[in-house]
Structures are given as C-alpha cells and as structure tokens.
C-alpha cells in the first residue's frame, strides 16, 4: 500500500524537523497509542490498539529514524507484529520552507501488511483505516506544533 501527501505547518523548518525526529514527541501523536518505549534517539517501540473488522488487538511496532538530513528529510522505518500479522512500514518526510516562512511537509509511506490482516486489503478496508490514522497523526502533529493550515 502506497500513500503520500503533504501538509503545511506554521513553524520553522528546524522546529518541524526537530519534532519529526524526536521519538518522544512524535510518538505522542500517533493514533490509539497505548504505550511508548524510547530506546535511544533513533529507536522507539510503540504499542497501538488496532481494529480491523472482527480482528482487534494490540500491534507492537518497532520504529527507527534513519537517513537524517537535517533539516530537509528523514525516514522512519518500522516493523510491527500482532494479531497474527506483520506490518512493515517505510515513511519518508521531505521538508521545504514556504513563501511565508511556514514549513511544507511532503510525506510518502509504503506499508506492507502480511498475515491475517492482509486479507482485508482487497476490500479497501486497510486503505481507509490507514488514511484515517494518517489524518489523525497529521492533526496531532499540527496541534503539537501549534500549526495553522
């Protein structure tokens, strides 16, 4: 599943970059998070509640921030397991300064779901859930940075 989009944050590019590459801050805005464990500056583990159709439970996602190129880009790589499934995720962020000094964030995500949850892919269910979660996540980031659209 490939997803991409962009959003604007009313904050400097350095501030946004620092936010996106800080596991402690960014994980706070992930949807349905039950627990966060920070291993170090690059690695963190998130336990999130997931529900797809009749399958509900926790997915434990191990995430790592890679390819830091401050303040313009970074990549978050993650693998989660739970609900007899595995979620592999690669998300990259590219930041640029807007004309008014705001920060434009372009993001691209590739998510591969294996196991039981994969069966819901063809019905479009996973796509919709992913979209919803991303919207929630972006809203969280914006509020975390006192964003404006």
């Amino acid at each position: 599943m490939h997803l991409e989009g962009h959003f604007t944050v009313n904050a400097s590019i350095d501030t946004v970059y620092a936010f996106l590459t800080d596991p402690a801050r960014v994980s706070r805005h992930m949807p349905d998070v039950r627990d966060v464990i920070i291993q170090d500056a690059d690695r963190f583990t998130v336990t999130a509640r997931v529900g797809v159709s009749h399958i509900k439970g926790d997915v434990v996602m191990k995430l790592e921030i890679r390819d830091r190129r401050p303040p313009v880009s970074t990549t978050v790589v993650g693998r989660g397991a739970g609900l007899a499934s595995v979620v592999d995720m690669v998300t990259s962020f590219n930041l640029e300064v807007g004309q008014g000094g705001e920060t434009l964030v372009h993001w691209r995500g590739d998510v591969t779901i294996s196991g039981k949850l994969a069966a819901f892919g063809p019905q479009g269910l996973l796509d919709r859930i992913a979209r919803k979660n991303i919207d929630t996540f972006i809203d969280g980031i914006r509020s975390g940075l006192s964003a404006r659209t």
Binding site: A81, S114, G115, A118
Partner: protein
C-alpha cells in the same frame, strides 16, 4: 447371504448417526476434556516467503498461564523429520520436513511455533510474545514466475522450483496423431479450492506413562500414527478417532504436523494438550487442491472418434514438497474417463510456489482429468460441427466390452455409459431444450451434459507408477478388517477398520450385518470411534480413496458371515438339529419352515441370540466340542485385483483403483447478460453406484459432492495477492455457495452391479464432485454460444463470464 435374502440392504434405513448429531450428542475432539489439560495455539508465518533469522520464546514462556513453548529450534532438536511419503513420489533429493517451518517459511500460515497454556485465550495472547525475526524474501505466486531461470528458490536443495517433471504414456500416441484427420487443442485450467469441512483440524494428546494417546479427527490414522512414532521416536502410541466433522481428503496429510506438535508439547509439559484449529487457520494452511493448467491436444477423425490425447499438466503444488505429485498420479485413476481411447501421453510438472501446500481433496486430480476429457469432447464437437453428445457416444466404452481394462491397467468391472447418457438426456429434456434454443430468444440459456467415473478402493502403489522401476511399493494392494460380535445380551456390535467422517458408515454397515445375522439394525451398533488398539486395520485403513464401500463393507460382511457360522453351529448343537435346517430371523435362530422334523422335535424349536450369548460367554459346558468361545469374529477383506505384489510395469501400468462407478451429469444454466452471473436452473444426475446398500445415504453423498463441484465451478476458491498473501480467509471471501445458489439436485439411479465386490457395490462418495465442474463449464459455454465464447478455465465467476461475453464480442 444373497441379494434375494436382503431385508435391509437396498433399503433407505433411517440414519443411526443423525439423531446423535442433530441433538448435540456427537463426540468430537473438542468435546473431550481431560484432567490438567492445556490448550495450545500455533504461531503462523505472516509472510509468504522469508528466512527465519531467530525465534525467541523467552517472553512467551513467562507469560501468565503458559506451560510450554515450542520453537523451530526445539522441533529440530527433539524430533526427526517426516519421511517423504508416496505423495512425494516425484521427489528427487531428500528434503527434510518438520512439524514447523525450519530456517524458512514458504507460505502464509505455515506453523512456526506453538504455545500451551491453561486456557486458550492465554495461549493465544502468549503467541504475540514470541519474538520471531524474519528476513522477507520475494514471494512467488505463479508457476511462470517460479519456473523462470532467475527465480528465487523456494527450496535451495532442489536447485529449481520445478520440483518434478515426468510423464506416463500409453499406447502409440505418435501414431495416433499421425493418422488423425485433425488435431484439436485447448489450454484449460482449474483453480485452487478446498472442501472446507465443518470441523477444522483437532488434536488432543494424553501422555500417560504407558503410552501416548492421540485423539484426532484424521481421515487416515496411519499417517498420524506413523508421524508421531517416527518424529518422537516412541513406540507406545495409540490413535483414537472420535466423531469427525467431514474429511474430503483435507484431514489426511498436513494434520500430521499438528499431531506431532501437539504430541511434542504434551511430552514436554507432561500434561494433556488440546489444539483446535480455527476457520481462518484452516483456510490458510490446512491444504488446498491444486491449481492445474493443461495444454491438451486431441487427435481426432472427422467422424468424432478420438484417437489419442496429449496433455501437458502443470501443477502449482504450493510451498511444500511433501505432496509433490498427488494431483498428477491421481489422474491415473480416471485417465481415460469413460472412453475407449487407447493412446494417451500425460506430461507433468510440479511447480513450487509460495502458497499453501496442496493436499488430497475430493477427487484430487480426478476432477481435473474429467474436466480435460469433457471439455475436449465439446471442443472436438465444435471443431467438427458435430453434436457433443454424438461425439461422446462415438468414444464411450460399450457394454459388451466389460470387464474393460483401460490402457493404463485399471479394470472396470461393469457399466452402462450409453444408458446413463440416455437417461440424463431424457430427464433434463435435452431435445426440447435444443429445439427451444433454435427458435431463439433473448435469454442466455445453456445445457451441458457430461459423463465421468467415480473410482473406488485405493491402491497406494499407484503413486509409484511414475517410477516404474521402483522396488518400494508402500501401501500396495488393499486390505481392511472388521469385527462383529454378538454380545451376551444378544445385541450386536461391530468395529470397522477405518474411521468415519460423517458418511453414515454405522448405518450402512449395520444394514449388512442385519441381513447376514437376521437381526434388525436397531439392535446393532458400532463399538465407537476408531482406535488403533482395537480396530482391525490394514493397509487400506483410510477414510479416503473411496475405500469404505469396498474394504469396510467387504470386511464387515465377512466378519458377520463368520459369526453367522458360529451361531448356526452353536444353535444346531443346542437345538439338536442339523444346521442346514436353521435360519436366522429377528435375532432368533429356528428351523426353517420347510425343514423336516428330526429326533429332537420335542425340544425347543428356537433359540434367541441372547440365550446363545449367555451360553457362549458364560456356560462353557454347553458348548459343542472344539467350539471357540464367544460369538465374535474378525475378517480382513481384500479385492481380487488388489494384488499386494503388483507393481507398476515398465510402462507405468498399474491398477490405480479397483471399482469404477459412473454418472452422467446434465446442467441447465442461465447467464445474466448484464452481470455475467450464472444461475443453475436444473441439475440432473444419473448415477451408477452399483448395488446400493442404502439409497438415501448414496443420495446424500451425491447431493454433497455435486453441490461442492457446482460451487467450485461457479466461483468458490482461494485468491492470493501478488505478495503471496491469502485474501480469502473466511468462507464469505472464499465464495462458498450457500443453499441459495445451490440448485436442487435431481438424481436417478441406474445401478449396474460390480462383478468383483461383495454385493456388487461401487463407490458412492466424492463421485459427483468429479464431473460437475465440467458439466457447469459445458452448460455455460453453450449459453454463451451467441458470443462464440469458449470456456477453458474455472471458476466461472460473474467477472470471468462477463469478460467471456465482452472479449468475444
């Protein structure tokens, strides 16, 4: 007993099993509860293809309620690999296969680890705490991709994903093609499906100090018996099979992995362990039928005579080598269908992919073989401008040819193929429908009439036909036992040598015993489920291969005859009459009315089974001299063609099965031109199952297998994504037909007794699942004739049918 003595054989006696099941008193594995029992759950691969970098059970082992965790390392350390069985007859190099994946996972759902806990939810929760690190590999989901020279290898040991290649050839195929007027060719395909039994796999292992007992809903107990004995290296194994909620082949092979895992867990924890598979697990990992693709050429004369067939068969066998060639070798059972064609070459390729392994499944390769023949008969008719029925008639084996030996060695005892066709055509109103089609209307209505065999009685050596020089013939021949006993109270109990999976074996066997012993079926019962310690089993101990009608019926009849002899001997002694003057009726032994009075005319004229039982078991003084105590006998039955020394000859000729029922199927369908949806308007079967013991039971078998075959043709099946993920995990996604889509099946029986079986019986099990996909395909093609469409592949989903209409345009 002769047929004229029959009071119960041939009657639709009420089911002995049904009241138990419809009132919830069946006893299935999950109904069994043992003290200190643990519940197990299996961790399965989420990936279609990946290396297992590590599997750490540390966190799971300390979870609440957990008593044991088994990882792949444990399995390698504590068990030995399975022996490659006959289903892997084509395997060229040894490939160790364990109960779990080892080193690699090769399909989604492959078992990786097991947890046992004091409750099922605790076990399921603990699975999430097993840390398995995978290195994903490219998933291969098509045979084309798998066979590509640069394809990622699924088994490194083999050096290729084309795990087997070979052929069988009978007659002079080249000569047949040389003298043909023309060659008709087609590319045909059948998809992956399953029989989806109501009850998925289930195992319960009780590790007592004396021996390990496995309660398991397996079809072939020998498979799990051997698997546990060999994998764990223990001799003290007992396998018990209680009620089973459907088998259809699903529960023959892969179930051994779970039996071994559950047994290992029981041994490791020292407690009874129960493992019950859920529906999604069953759909993803319990085995599928094979995707099969056929490139077929038929050498034909202009009058419709088929001189020979050349078939290139590519089987997508999924991610295991353990059943590499079963879909190929099972085509030997009905290789020539009902036709007298003498020349045929079948080339096979078994190609590995990252899909669920293939398993025996309601006919295995036989629906494919029938599909080939019947699609080609229609194709030949189209090519030559002939009537498809006329082409079939031109090639059918005729009545005067029976017993008929097929070019590959099968001996078909009897049949009336022309008669089956006649009746099917009459019953569906073939001529009227054809006439109506000619008058023309806007409705897309089509008719298809096909004919097929139902082979019965397994010869396991068949699988070695692809190795004609092999000296090892595991499972060759065929023999099966049964025990019949008159109890002390005069009731009768019998024990069969193979388990039942819900096919009314108790009812049917009781009818046999009832006629032989002259006692009503309601005073006869089965001793219980199958038990390796008690059941008289032989090489044919299997609820598969359509074995019951041949071996179990023959065995229970033979055992009952032996008991009858004992009854007559004892009664004659006690009544002081010649035994030839006695008859058995309603549990009473008495003088036949025509018998002349003898010297003891003043004594009792009759004696009941109960009186005989009391004497036989408790009053030795009254027994005749030399009389063996008890009123019990065991008999092992074979078949005149089941020669255990029989080997496939140099050309691969082998008696693949021993009896051959047959049936003509006629389908009338309507296609919705807007959606492509197919509706079956009528479905007629005329069936020759030989002598029927219980016509109602035979009807039930036909209804079920026809409904499945029709559903397969119309859309049920497994779908994989490009990443090897199974997308059809539930019965809803899988597209199983419900009663709304299933037509009423109209059955007429046209029995032609088999000369080689005990009562003339033939198989009556999976038969209707064999021709029904071909019948639907034929009818849909006929309905789509305005579009010139050719139906070559299944399933006929609305999408595929719609495309056939619009692509043809």
């Amino acid at each position: 007993m002769t047929r004229s003595d029959s009071r119960y054989v041939g009657a639709s006696v009420r089911s002995k099993e049904a009241p138990r099941h419809v009132t919830g008193r069946g006893r299935f594995v999950d109904d069994l509860v043992l003290p200190r029992m643990l519940h197990a759950f299996v961790l399965r691969s989420p990936y279609a293809h990946a290396r297992i970098v590590s599997a750490n059970a540390g966190r799971a082992a300390h979870a609440t309620g957990v008593y044991g965790v088994i990882t792949p390392d444990d399995v390698v350390r504590l068990t030995t690999p399975f022996k490659p069985g006959r289903y892997a007859a084509g395997l060229r190099v040894p490939v160790p296969e364990y109960a779990t994946a080892v080193g690699k996972v090769r399909y989604v759902g492959e078992p990786v680890a097991m947890v046992a806990a004091s409750s099922r939810p605790e076990a399921e929760d603990a699975l999430e705490l097993i840390d398995v690190e995978y290195e994903p590999l490219p998933a291969i989901v098509t045979t084309e991709a798998a066979a590509a020279p640069d394809a990622t290898l699924i088994y490194d040991e083999l050096g290729t994903n084309v795990a087997w290649q070979g052929h069988v050839s009978f007659g002079d195929v080249d000569a047949a093609f040389a003298r043909a007027d023309r060659v008709v060719s087609a590319n045909l395909g059948i998809h992956r499906y399953s029989s989806t039994p109501l009850e998925p796999f289930a195992c319960l292992v009780d590790p007592t100090p004396e021996r390990l007992t496995l309660y398991c809903n397996c079809q072939n107990p020998e498979v799990v018996y051997e698997a546990i004995t060999e994998a764990l290296g223990i001799d003290g194994v007992r396998v018990a099979v209680p009620d089973v909620g459907g088998g259809f082949g699903q529960k023959i092979h892969l179930i051994r992995k779970y039996a071994v895992l559950t047994a290992l867990m029981a041994v490791q924890t020292g407690r009874p362990v129960k493992w019950i598979e859920d529906r999604s697990e069953h759909m993803m990992a319990a085995g599928h039928s094979c995707d099969q693709e056929f490139d077929v050429e038929a050498a034909v004369r202009n009058d419709g005579e088929v001189l020979g067939l050349r078939i290139a068969d590519t089987d997508d066998v999924g991610g295991s080598v353990s059943t590499l060639t079963i879909h190929f070798t099972n085509k030997l059972n009905n290789l020539f269908n009902t036709y007298r064609v003498q020349n045929l070459r079948l080339e096979g390729r078994s190609v590995l992919t990252n899909k669920c392994p293939v398993v025996p499944n309601r006919g295995i390769g036989k629906p494919g073989m029938c599909f080939i023949w019947e699609r080609m008969m229609d194709a030949v008719a189209q090519e030559l401008g002939l009537d498809p029925i006329a082409v079939r008639r031109r090639n059918l084996v005729t009545q005067d040819q029976f017993p008929y030996t097929t070019p590959n060695g099968n001996i078909i005892g009897s049949g009336d193929y022309q008669g089956l066709l006649d009746r099917a055509l009459k019953n569906i109103g073939y001529e009227d429908i054809r006439a109506q089609q000619k008058t023309g209307n806007d409705r897309l209505i089509g008719i298809g009439v096909v004919i097929g065999l139902e082979p019965g009685g397994r010869n396991a050596a068949r699988d070695m036909a692809i190795f004609p020089k092999s000296k090892q013939m595991p499972g060759a021949g065929g023999v099966e036992g049964a025990t019949v006993k008159i109890e002390k109270n005069g009731s009768v109990v019998f024990t069969l040598g193979a388990p039942s999976c819900g096919q009314s074996h108790e009812t049917t066997a009781a009818q046999i015993v009832a006629d032989v012993l002259g006692i009503p079926p309601d005073r006869i019962s089965a001793s219980g489920g199958w038990d390796s310690s008690l059941s008289p089993w032989g090489v044919s101990c299997a609820n598969s291969g359509n074995n019951f009608h041949l071996y179990d019926i023959g065995a229970v009849h033979g055992a009952a005859m032996r008991v009858r002899e004992k009854v007559l001997t004892l009664a004659a002694h006690l009544l002081k009459v010649d035994r030839s003057a006695l008859d058995l009726r309603d549990g009473i032994v008495g003088r036949v009315p025509s018998a002349a009075p003898n010297s003891s005319a003043d004594g009792p004229a009759t004696i009941t089974f109960a009186e005989l039982g009391k004497i036989a078991y408790a009053n030795q003084a009254l027994l005749p001299e030399g009389f063996e105590g008890g009123l019990e006998a065991t008999y092992y039955h074979s078949h005149p063609h089941a020669d255990p020394g029989m080997l496939p000859d140099e050309t691969g000729r082998v008696r693949a099965q021993y009896t051959f029922g047959s049936a003509a199927h006629a389908a009338l369908v309507e296609v919705d031109p807007g959606t492509g949806r197919v509706k079956v308007l009528r479905y007629v079967i005329v069936s020759d199952n030989g002598t029927m013991i219980n016509p109602s039971v035979v009807d039930g078998q036909i209804y079920g297998s026809a409904a499945h075959g029709i559903s397969v043709a119309l859309g049920e099946g497994f779908v994989y994504g490009d990443d090897g993920q199974l997308l059809t995990l539930t019965l809803l996604d899988y597209g199983k037909s419900t009663t709304l889509e299933t037509p009423r099946i109209e059955i007429e029986h046209h029995p032609v007794p088999d000369p080689y079986t005990t009562l003339g019986q033939k198989a009556a099990g999976e038969g209707a699942a064999i021709p029904s996909p071909a019948a639907i395909a034929s009818a849909v093609e006929n309905a789509l004739s305005p579009f010139g469409a050719r139906v070559r592949r299944l399933p006929l989903t609305p999408e595929r049918v719609w495309n056939l209409m619009h692509v043809s345009r």
